[in-house]
């Protein structure tokens, strides 16, 4: 919302001594963010006059049209200037910069020879004067609006400061000069004159039968004023068109300009219909069935009973509060008008605007709540201006419905201080609330003004008091605090694992959790890992669904890094995954302002699908950076498995390992780690198809841990370690190559019993032939209370081997 200082001053007595920056600071202090201060005319000096075009000579033979123009600048003699624009004719009033003038951009005007003529000045466009972006032609002023020779800087109110203000959505009233004037007057503590007070005194005589308003739905009050004898060729006065331009809009025609002007001045959107196009009464309501309707932007729209419409006996004439229809638009042959001013239901307008993706100056104001009593006075303002400027006469004014106002709120002045944390007297509170337009009685029953629908509870008034005093007045104190807080064990675990991986040379990345059906399919995910949720309005149609696994995102990042020159690296990510574990139910939306029942809360929480937190990592290239010591080996399947296992060991979790055929890993080279029989992690070599799809180095490896599936670490019971010596025993076993190392180890452990302290596979020989392999283990035995005897050691060793023979068909290999 723009606010020219010259217009603000019409209602707020802002002294000349206050700088634009100070005014901007005052706006910001009371909650209006000034996005830009536009200073017009500051870099414009010298002579700028209103001139009349006396004659035009078209100079031919140039690349573009060039005119040699004779101007009456109110001087003794005519002035001749060269002009490249063609949007003017003999008799038009234009703005001429005379030699000596300096235009914005330090553009000095002087008499000069050009196109074989002497140009003694320049006819100016809006852009050349720093008034706007319009450079499609020169400024043509309304005929007879000004005398030739008049100082144009003053006549066009060029010297002005325009504040561009971001208005918060709860302050619809401030989308008007009236509203912003009141705010700046309050902020600067200067006098404010409400323009509506004068309008309340206006009276119009009924001189005929006007159009009757009928209010069926979607509004509280509907004013309709019928006017006749409008002179369609009446011109918009310069002061009005200049103000409209300063607000960033264009002057169109007098009747349309007045609707816009009144909206900008007071905040009430208006719509003027050509009365001759209206059949019967004008009705606000809904259509009965779907139909087509063309708005005045020429677009044909599909209208349904969901839309709020303004209709006559024949059908829709306007998309209510949003945009008028093409057919009933004011034209240059219109003489009779029906002016609509309505206090629409904000939600109805918001729905209109959203359904048709049409946000207009009118809809933006109406969906932010317009002053309840303004329809009457804004429509009166329109009638007044159209009568004064357009020669129109009043026919009839009728209305349907009555204004509705926000309720009176009982405010305890002590509450204001309690919330703000410093003491404010009841007198000060009363004074501030009065400044913003409230009526406050002795008991502090506060009646908010008709334009403040946002003031409905005591807290709303606290903000008003705080902002008018200034938030700077609020002291800075620390709250009382609980004695203790800490991270939860699962939060600590994420930190430990992330730090451990970073310390091992992995870099953490974060990827967007969006993917596609094609990627899910190409990775080989099945069942619940292939089912996800779809975004109704994705950023990109390439990634319209939520990820079910971290590997595709990591592979894409790995691929990007390779593309940028990286070769050997490891990356990891911690993030949520989304699996369509249950069909979504219809939204559960309990009543507000009171706590839903426990059952309802559980139902809402339960309606949100479980989203597990995963940790994923991809390792590509060499295990170590290439150095002067040479190149290291490449990552292989066991590195990924080791890292996954080490992370579980870091958390003191016991797990078992089985082979798994699990996408997107190599079906023969994927380990599944289980805790209490539940899979919690997968690790190994990526499937060659996936490696190829993302252009990763061959045999790249990866692991994923489902952090949400990990149980809490058990409390460690610190067993004494004693000082007894260990006994080391090596055994080599020949087993079938299909027998897993884990099962052999498990059998050895079982057979060895409690004296076995640790077991290490120190050799694996797979060149025996016959489908046999040899596994050599080093077993460490120890008793906490004694040195083991040779006989004891031999016994447990034999027991261990016997178990492996029994469970795994192992044969003890002898030297």
């Amino acid at each position: 919302m723009r606010a020219p200082l010259s217009w603000l001053r019409e209602f707020a007595a802002i002294p000349e001594s206050i700088s634009a920056q100070a005014i901007s600071d005052a706006f910001i202090r009371v909650g209006f963010e000034v996005e830009e201060i536009i200073t017009q005319g500051a870099d414009l000096t010298g002579s700028l006059v209103v001139a009349k075009v006396l004659a035009i000579e078209e100079l031919t033979g140039n690349k573009k049209p060039i005119r040699y123009v004779e101007l009456d600048c109110g001087e003794k003699q005519s002035r001749f200037v060269i002009c490249g624009a063609t949007n003017f004719a003999v008799g038009d009033l234009v703005v001429a910069a005379l030699p000596g003038a300096i235009l914005p951009g330090n553009f000095a005007i002087s008499a000069r020879e050009t196109y074989g003529k002497t140009s003694n000045g320049m006819i100016c466009s809006s852009r050349e004067l720093g008034l706007g972006e319009d450079h499609s032609g020169i400024i043509v002023l309304p005929a007879n609006s000004l005398n030739v020779g008049t100082d144009a800087i003053e006549a066009l109110e060029i010297n002005d400061v325009i504040f561009d203000i971001a208005v918060n959505p709860d302050r619809g009233y401030a989308l008007s000069i009236r509203g912003l004037s009141r705010e700046i007057a309050g902020a600067l503590n200067v006098k404010f004159v409400d323009p509506v007070e004068a309008l309340k005194k206006l009276e119009f005589k009924k001189s005929g039968n006007g159009v009757t308003p009928v209010l069926e739905d979607g509004a509280s009050v509907f004013y309709l004023r019928t006017l006749a004898n409008y002179k369609a060729d009446a011109l918009t006065p310069l002061w009005m068109s200049r103000r409209i331009e300063k607000m960033g809009m264009r002057s169109i025609s007098l009747a349309v300009d007045i609707t816009n002007y009144v909206m900008l001045e007071l905040g009430q959107p208006l719509h003027a219909f050509d009365r001759s196009k209206i059949k019967g009464s004008l009705r606000i309501g809904r259509v009965k069935k779907d139909q087509k309707f063309t708005t005045l932007d020429g677009q044909e729209r599909n209208i349904s009973p969901q839309d709020l419409m303004v209709m006559d006996d024949n059908g829709p004439l306007a998309l209510a509060g949003t945009m008028g229809g093409l057919e009933s638009e004011i034209t240059n042959s219109t003489t009779e008008l029906a002016l609509e001013a309505v206090r629409f239901d904000p939600i109805a307008i918001a729905k209109n605007s959203r359904r048709h993706k049409l946000s207009t100056e009118a809809s933006r104001r109406l969906e932010r709540q317009v002053d309840s009593s303004l329809a009457e006075f804004a429509s009166a303002r329109f009638a007044q201006l159209l009568i004064d400027l357009g020669g129109a006469s009043h026919v009839d004014s009728q209305h349907a419905g009555e204004p509705r106002f926000a309720p009176i709120v009982k405010l305890d002045p002590a509450y204001v201080s309690q919330i703000l944390g410093f003491s404010i007297t009841p007198e000060k509170i009363r004074e501030i609330l009065t400044v913003i337009g409230c009526d406050v009685d002795k008991e502090f029953n506060v009646d908010p003004p008709s334009w403040r629908w946002d003031l409905t509870q005591p807290a709303d008034f606290v903000e008003e008091v705080a902002r008018m005093i200034g938030y700077d007045a609020i002291p800075s104190l620390l709250p009382p605090r609980p004695k203790h807080a800490s991270l939860t064990w699962s939060q600590k675990r994420i930190r430990v694992i992330s730090s451990a991986l970073a310390a091992r040379g992995l870099s953490e990345v974060q990827t967007f959790p969006f993917t596609s059906d094609a990627i899910i399919e190409s990775m080989g995910y099945v069942n619940e890992r292939a089912k996800t949720y779809r975004i109704a309005n994705p950023m990109s149609e390439d990634f319209p669904v939520l990820r079910t696994h971290l590997i595709p995102g990591l592979a894409a990042v790995a691929s990007r890094n390779i593309g940028r020159g990286a070769k050997d690296f490891a990356i990891f990510e911690v993030g949520s995954i989304f699996r369509n574990s249950k069909d979504l139910v219809a939204a559960i939306s309990p009543e507000l302002d009171k706590k839903p029942s426990k059952a309802k809360i559980d139902e809402i929480f339960g309606s949100v699908p479980v989203q597990h937190l995963h940790l994923g990592a991809i390792l590509v290239g060499k295990v170590e950076d290439t150095s002067w010591r040479g190149s290291s080996r490449s990552y292989e399947w066991s590195d990924a498995i080791a890292m996954a296992q080490e992370m579980l060991q870091l958390c003191n979790l016991e797990f078992t390992v089985v082979r798994s055929d699990f996408a997107p890993w190599h079906p023969g080279r994927c380990a599944e780690l289980l805790i209490d029989g539940k899979a919690v992690a997968h690790a190994g070599e990526l499937h060659p198809r996936v490696v190829e799809q993302f252009s990763l180095p061959a045999r790249s490896v990866a692991f994923v841990i489902n952090l949400s599936a990990l149980p809490q670490s058990p409390l460690v019971r610190g067993e004494g370690v004693g000082a007894m010596p260990p006994a080391l025993q090596d055994v080599a076993l020949i087993v079938d190559e299909k027998v897993s190392a884990a099962s052999v180890e498990s059998a050895l452990r079982k057979g060895a019993g409690e004296l076995l302290e640790s077991i290490v596979l120190f050799d694996r020989y797979d060149k025996m032939g016959d489908g046999k392999i040899s596994l050599a283990y080093s077993l460490t035995f120890r008793a906490s209370d004694r040195t083991l005897t040779g006989a004891e050691i031999a016994q447990v060793r034999e027991a261990a081997v016997a178990q492996a023979v029994k469970d795994c068909g192992a044969i003890l290999r002898t030297a």
């Binding site: 918001a350 709250p479 807080a485 109704a536 309005n537 949100v608 170590e624």
Partner: protein, 335 residues
């Protein structure tokens, strides 16, 4: 054989040890002056032939002399070993400036680092770290926060909606639903922060990302005022941006707070919008079943990306979201 003669042997031995140039020479000197044939050894052996009186007196002389010779040998040995060691070790000198590390350089993502840092700061203040799902019920993300359907405040946030639309399920636009979940399930006093991932349908550019992170704070307790909000934010700002940072609260609008404010910081010579805050709207407290006659609360929220970019001078959001190792590695563990 008299004590003078013995003293001569000691002197000779000491001189010989001292003049030995290396451990080999010292070995010869030792054999000469301490070996079986050495005068002192011979004298020692001959003690047996002396009278008991002579044996006692002369035995002591010999014993003392032997000790002196041994001590001289010991210090000479130490000296020469030292010389030998130094020489050998010098020969083993390497270029210790050679690049030693071969492990890939890892690191945490800067968003994790700043999230951890903020969490630690607030944990020290007695706040817990609360979390919630990223795909969230629309009632928790909007309605319960006093953002009704069709309210213009909802269009302030371009929301990602999940199909079917009737489910009302969204990708959370803020971490505020975590506040609602906490208030619905816990009794005050409540002191939490909720850092986490959030979503808005903004195109990725230098300063926006459709996927980003926020940290929000919520306090609900007896006697909580806006002064407590200001104090908490001042403290937080100083922790994040240094003791010299200045803060400013500006009136603003959020449906879930009343009064509402924007918090700006004056950092590196200019005012920067850091986040939003305010006193929790009584309507929100009531929806969560908190007695507004007893309890008041404040809440605040800011973007982690924005905080990171401002503090670390990062100018392009792409660097934060693309996962380029070269970017992440700069931050290490962030300490």
């Amino acid at each position: 054989m008299d004590s003078k003669e013995v003293a001569g042997w000691v002197k000779d031995a000491q001189a010989a040890f001292l003049s030995a140039g290396d451990l080999d020479e010292l070995k010869s000197a030792r054999l000469a002056h301490m070996g079986d044939k050495a005068p002192i050894s011979l004298a020692s052996r001959s003690l047996g032939s002396l009278s008991p009186d002579e044996k006692a007196s002369f035995g002591k002389v010999i014993g003392d002399a032997k000790a002196q010779i041994a001590s001289a040998l010991d210090s000479a040995t130490k000296k020469l070993e030292n010389i030998r060691d130094q020489k050998v070790l010098l020969e083993e000198v390497v270029d210790i400036t050679l690049p030693a590390s071969r492990m890939h350089r890892g690191g945490l993502h800067p968003i994790s680092i700043i999230k951890n840092e903020i969490s630690d700061f607030f944990i020290e203040q007695g706040f817990s770290v609360a979390e919630g799902p990223e795909m969230e019920s629309g009632w928790l993300n909007f309605d319960a926060l006093n953002i009704p359907a069709d309210h213009p405040a909802r269009t302030m946030q371009d929301t990602f909606f999940i199909e079917p639309l009737e489910s009302g399920m969204v990708l959370r636009t803020q971490t505020s639903p975590v506040q609602i979940r906490t208030m619905l399930t816990q009794e005050p006093p409540i002191y939490i922060i909720s850092p986490g991932r959030t979503f808005r349908a903004d195109e990725l550019d230098a300063t926006h990302s459709p996927v980003f992170h926020q940290v929000e704070g919520l306090v609900v307790d007896r006697g909580i005022t806006m002064a407590h909000l200001k104090g908490t934010l001042d403290n937080f700002a100083q922790h994040m941006f240094g003791a010299d940072v200045t803060t400013r609260l500006r009136p603003s609008f959020f449906p879930f707070t009343e009064p509402s404010a924007e918090i700006d910081i004056f950092f590196n010579g200019r005012w920067i919008e850091w986040g939003g805050c305010g006193m929790v709207n009584p309507k929100v407290l009531q929806t969560c079943g908190i007695d507004t006659d007893i309890f008041t609360g404040f809440a605040f929220g800011m973007g982690l990306e924005r905080t990171l970019m401002v503090r670390h001078g990062i100018t392009d959001m792409h660097d934060i979201v693309e996962g380029d190792l070269r970017f992440t590695r700069q931050f290490g563990m962030g300490l």
